[in-house]
Amino acid sequence: MPHNNTQDTLVGLFVAAGIASLFFLALQVSNLSSFTKGETYQITASFENSGGLKVKSPVSAAGVKIGRVSSIVFNPKTYRSVVTMEIDAKYKTLPDDSSVSVYTAGLLGEQYISLGEGASDSYLHNGSEIEFTNSALILEKAITQYLLKSADEKKDSDDKKNSPKK
């Protein structure tokens, strides 16, 4: 069968377009480009409540992503949730008295771990555990507390108003 150059070119263009769109999907649309599996080290922290934190949630310091959550397990002895994080090996000068908090990105956004600065001279290393943790803010809990508090205040003020009459 004779080769048809135009046909070859058209098929070539088609295949190239298809492969290019696959690459587009892989790199631009999904997180493959930020999924560089570089050197990491693991640190753990135990939270009273890790809220809606998920495996692969980002760990950030001062707003910059420095790692990911690699596992979340419940420790039935201490009744706390133990979160293991993989931190990029580039950041190996994090003080070992840093604190971690679970925050929410935006009102309805995903939850992430934020690393607060410490002042110690010794650094976090593979396997070290962070002592200072702040649990996730549970909205229902906060609202309940607020309502109870305002109800108490109201009761107090009512009592004060009523007491002179008695």
Binding site: Q7, D8, L13, V15, G18, S30, N31
Partner: protein, 259 residues
């Protein structure tokens, strides 16, 4: 009683058809090695199956993406979450609409053409003529077309999704004022390569296999008359649509059912 006789006959018919189809599949797959020796056969079919479907796929993809952008914006803006438009458009395209709609279009555009071509070859006794010349028509005619369909489908589905995402961006960011950076970065953060992209590609590979198989088998199995070919073409489109949608449900349940 007549009803049961009819039911029994229909069951027997469908089983023999399934048997013929499986036998045909084995012959078709074993012919692939001889296609790879003569890649110009494959190239010609890639042209008629893939390149000629290019336009309908890209234009449909663009419009589907634009509609998703409009509809998504309408719903998301109620919750003040317009920024996640990119996630919605990309996830629905990559996971579902890309593979499924591209496969339905592929069955309509390329599958029906394959059935009509093979059916007419059978009706005009070209296939028997080849057999007389000791050329296996399955190896020479069917296998290259199957391989071309099987290879083109994932590429077409990826094109559909990519063009659709750009269409969603044109409408969302250009027309409705969603932030360009938020569109892409939210998409980037929330779509997973393994879970979304790879599963979408697996879907399109399965659909490409099934639609090409159905189209070629219906053509090869057609009653060699004008009416028989026309019926076979209809059956190709109907059966492809059923199997694409049914398989899509099963695949989705397997891939995304666990969370």
């Amino acid at each position: 009683m007549e009803f049961f006789q009819y039911l029994g006959a229909a069951t027997r018919e469908s089983f023999t058809k399934l048997g013929r189809a499986s036998y045909f599949l084995i012959g078709m797959l074993s012919g692939i090695s001889s296609v790879l020796i003569r890649p110009c056969l494959l190239l010609k079919q890639m042209h008629s199956v893939g390149v000629l479907s290019f336009l309908i796929i890209t234009i449909s993809g663009l419009f589907v993406g634009m509609v998703l952008g409009l509809q998504g914006f309408y719903i998301l803006s109620r919750f003040g979450a317009e920024e996640t438009l990119g996630v919605m458009v990309a996830a629905s395209l990559v996971r579902e609409l890309g593979p499924v709609v591209a496969a339905l279009l592929f069955a309509g555009r390329a599958g029906s053409a394959l059935t009509a071509e093979i059916g007419l070859m059978k009706a005009t006794e070209q296939l028997s003529g080849m057999e007389m010349m000791a050329i296996d028509p399955i190896k020479r005619i069917i296998s290259p077309r199957f391989l071309a369909g099987f290879l083109s489908m994932p590429l077409l589905a990826a094109l559909f999704s990519a063009v659709g995402i750009i269409g969603g961006q044109i409408v969302g960011c250009g027309l409705l004022g969603v932030d360009d950076g938020a569109y892409w970065s939210q998409m980037n953060a929330n779509l997973d390569f393994q879970k979304d992209i790879i599963n979408g590609i697996i879907k399109s590979v399965v659909f490409g296999f099934v639609t090409s198989w159905i189209a070629l088998f219906e053509g090869y199995d057609a009653i060699p008359t004008a009416e028989g070919v026309s019926r076979a073409t209809t059956r190709t489109v109907v059966n492809s649509a059923f199997s694409i949608l049914g398989l899509d449900f099963i695949l989705t349940a397997l891939m995304f059912g666990d969370n």
